[in-house]
Symmetry: C2
Subunit: 343 residues, 2 copies
DNA sequence: TTTAAAATTACAATCGATTGCGTAAAATAT
DNA sequence: ATATTTTACGCAATCGATTGTAATTTTAAA
């Protein structure tokens, strides 16, 4: 790869016998430059195959027109959808996205954040990893005057912009659906309670019980069952209880629900007649299993759009007294075969 | 969001009564600066919460330490995996990734490329969109002296670095597997032939027939069946033929294979006994369907790693006479229920 | 003690684009 | 025709870090 001297505004200026400032103004469509020279400059720029050096431009302007995104994993449906949603909007606005993966590790997350601060990004969008200690690194982002937007998995105590799902409500609806379907002993596979999303989902679960005046059975609540394997493991325990559940709400994910389904199939337990299953996140596969899995759609792409729009809305906002917004998106219960008994 | 004056090397220099150049050198761990002052500088930098301004640094150094990635869709399993794989490597090396989606549209792809050239990225990694006209925009990348790496869906005529799958071989193995399984009338759902990957998969299909001395039946080859819907449509046509196929190789994707499975189920045709199905790409759901779908794993994350490693290998390479490399990754046939008759 | 060599540090230009300010030229008003 | 306002462009500083070269200090050798 040979080095190529790229044309600059000085090259254009030299060729036309004018100054770089005029060239710059012309290319920025400033009214300070004559229409004819403007045209000429643009034409020449095109001829010389000129591309503005964003580095120089941004350095001068003190911005980067770049947004950093930190997610646990890029290749996880929910996150890749959110990212796709963010990109849709930011692309139009001429902003770029820098993507980092924390791999669910606190340390790596800190590193990612530091990298992004280093990059002088204009905004950092993050969904925190499970392995979360303090939030010093996020505070650090704010201290650097960088906009911070949290989505889905948020650190509630931090005063930042947030885009979340109404997990309580979604969870409540899911469990209500199970109760109304006649399921009596509804188990919960819960996720790490240090993440608010999982706490909220549990809250919704409990709320439904209260609403329907059904007593909560503690032994049917399984901690830390947030992967397919852990979901399967929890299910095995649950189903070997003296009084096993007749429904399982895998509040952590569809992966977990899939683990439930696998175990049920392996044990010859019929779904949904003997066991109802409800997942979370509407992963693409949840529609394909047999029976298909009832789940909750989080509108992930839309969530990404919302995050991006929120950012652009806020950069225009000079009111420093305004409190950081939290936008809550109402998820939707998708009822499928795994909870429909009368079929 | 209030503006925050960020500390620069000049602030550090002023505080210590030295010059910025020494600060810069110290922070770059140059041997030109005394160990004691170096320590002092680093300590002070830390105290003042200094973060290097990458824009300025890169402007000066004439590089951006940034790699641009253009894919049809971020939220498509294969691509998000490749991106994750690229990120794993580039992150360690201190490079950033800018992600763009072409949305399978030629026009948007051109825009993406221009954006990335504007950004002065050091390398552009691309998997071209289906809607591909000429490759002028890619030539333009090369003309700007930017490294170009194509992966998976490549424009063969362009002399660039390439990382591809051995589609012919994979396809050949898949069809061989079907033939050896006793399937006699094996249909092919093929993708748009302007993409070399689909051409190669067809080639592998034909090669297997030749090898086993089986005549090719033209009416069993269905053009342009590369989505779930198109796959289903093609399957309906195939299965209503006077002599329907007893196996279908959905060479385009597992989505297409899923369409096949749906139609077979709807028509009450038993898989794999009456109809064998083989997909492509080992999407996560292919394991979950019943029966599970035989498919081809492309080692997508590894492919991403390979792309990134190739880049770092090439930047060290000053030999301009060297021909652009093509790295071919051998995919693996994953045999599952949908093609296993004797069970 | 003097001098040459080596190690540090300072100075200043540079990367490319932007922008406040000043001025000459053109357009308008008096 | 002269005064005044606009318009268009040039000048030069600036963003923050890097780096070649010059200057100074330190160390080692004579």
């Amino acid at each position: 790869m040979k080095k190529v001297k790229r044309t600059t505004i000085y090259d254009i200026a030299a060729k036309l016998g004018i100054t770089a400032s005029s060239v710059s103004r012309a290319l920025n469509n400033s009214s300070q430059v004559n229409e004819k020279t403007k045209e000429l400059i643009i034409k020449t720029a095109d001829e010389l195959n000129y591309k503005r050096n964003i580095l120089a431009s941004n350095l001068r302007k003190g911005q980067s027109k770049t947004i950093g995104v930190v997610v646990p994993r890029i290749n996880q449906n929910f996150f890749s959808n959110v990212i796709a949603g963010i990109e849709e909007i930011t692309y139009q606005k001429g902003y770029n996205l820098i993507i980092c993966q924390s791999g669910e590790q606190h340390e790596k997350e800190i590193q990612c954040i530091n990298t992004l601060i280093n990059q002088h990004v204009d905004c950092i969008v993050i969904s925190v990893s499970v392995d979360n200690g303090d939030y010093q690194h996020l505070q650090n982002v704010l201290d650097h005057g960088i906009q911070l937007i949290q989505f889905d998995r948020v650190a509630e105590e931090l005063e930042t912009l947030k885009v979340i799902n109404d997990n309580v409500q979604a969870s409540f609806e899911a469990v209500s659906h199970l109760i109304e379907g006649g399921y009596k002993r509804i188990a919960l596979l819960e996720g790490p309670q240090n993440l608010s999303i999982f706490k909220q989902r549990k809250e919704g679960y409990l709320k439904a019980f209260k609403m329907y005046n059904v007593p909560v059975i503690e032994e049917l609540i399984v901690e830390n069952a947030w992967t397919k394997e852990l979901g399967a493991e929890g299910t095995r325990k649950l189903l070997s209880l003296p009084h096993p559940p007749d429904a399982i709400f895998a509040s952590t994910s569809d992966f977990s629900a899939l683990g439930v389904l696998d175990v049920a199939n392996a044990m010859g337990i019929k779904v949904p007649s003997e066991l109802g299953i409800c997942g979370y996140a509407n992963e693409s596969f949840s529609e394909i299993t047999s029976p298909s899995i009832t789940t909750i759609d989080q509108f992930s792409v839309y969530m990404g759009n919302t995050v991006a729009n929120l950012f652009f809305q806020e950069i225009g906002n000079t009111d420093t007294t305004a409190k950081p917004k939290t936008i809550s998106i109402k998820p939707e219960l998708i009822i499928r075969g795994s909870t429909l008994r009368n079929r």
